[in-house]
């Protein structure tokens, strides 16, 4: 099974449908950057805003240092990410634990910068979902694979 990815501006990107029944968000499109340099996967501040995620449901876990700034990381539970494989079959990946990234700042430059962060699928996601990343940027090829 292969999940095709896009390489755009030297970033590996993929669209997924996010579902979190516990938080009543409905079906939401999140486009992720696949970043194996990140040890945590998360929904970004701007995507949390986009999908109207109930921020009062978040439980702070730790601070995160990313892109030169700091943000809060909270755990969210029992979500499903859905992708299309190369044959456009639906691949649903249930995750007991995922993360939401929120900004400390309520306004100003720091908040504006936090809104520039994309949502990220890190190495933790690949490990949990038992997926491998293959990429050959020179040929514009990238995909996740489960053998």
């Amino acid at each position: 099974m292969k999940i095709p990815l896009q390489i755009i501006d030297e970033q590996i990107q993929v669209g997924a449908v996010f579902r979190a029944p516990k938080y009543r968000t409905g079906l939401a499109l999140i486009d992720f950057v696949v970043d194996t340099g990140s040890n945590v996967s998360f929904i970004s501040p701007r995507d949390l805003m986009k999908i109207n995620f109930p921020q009062n449901a978040l439980t702070f876990k730790s601070m995160n240092y990313i892109g030169g700034g700091s943000s809060d990381i909270s755990e969210i539970h029992d979500i499903v990410l859905a992708f299309h494989d190369e044959d456009t079959n639906l691949v649903k990946i249930p995750l007991k634990t995922f993360h939401a990234c929120t900004s400390h700042a309520s306004r100003g430059d720091k908040r504006a910068r936090s809104m520039l962060l994309p949502s990220v699928l890190g190495l933790d996601f690949l490990k949990t979902a038992d997926l491998s990343l293959y990429t050959k940027p020179a040929k514009n090829i990238a995909y996740l694979e489960r053998i």
Partner: protein
């Protein structure tokens, strides 16, 4: 077709279009958030709040719309 598949099918087209037109989008919309639907930009704004408000006002569901931030600057995560 399952609703997830409908969303993903449309998102794939929009993301592919976004990638193919990235250079011209950056030129036109540098440091803006843009909403893309049916393989074209439908709205842009300098911040997410304004873009989401515009989409809601226009009857377009931001939750299932591809929204991207474009910039000439390098991105280091």
């Amino acid at each position: 077709m399952e609703p997830e598949s409908v969303i993903l099918r449309n998102a794939r087209k929009d993301l592919e279009w976004f990638g193919e037109h990235y250079t011209e989008l950056v030129t036109k919309y540098d440091e803006q958030f843009i909403a893309i639907k049916n393989a074209q930009p439908i709205a842009s704004a300098s911040n997410m709040e304004d873009l989401i408000a515009y989409l809601n006002k226009s009857g377009i569901d931001p939750v299932t719309t591809l929204i991207k931030y474009v910039t000439r600057a390098y991105t280091i995560l």
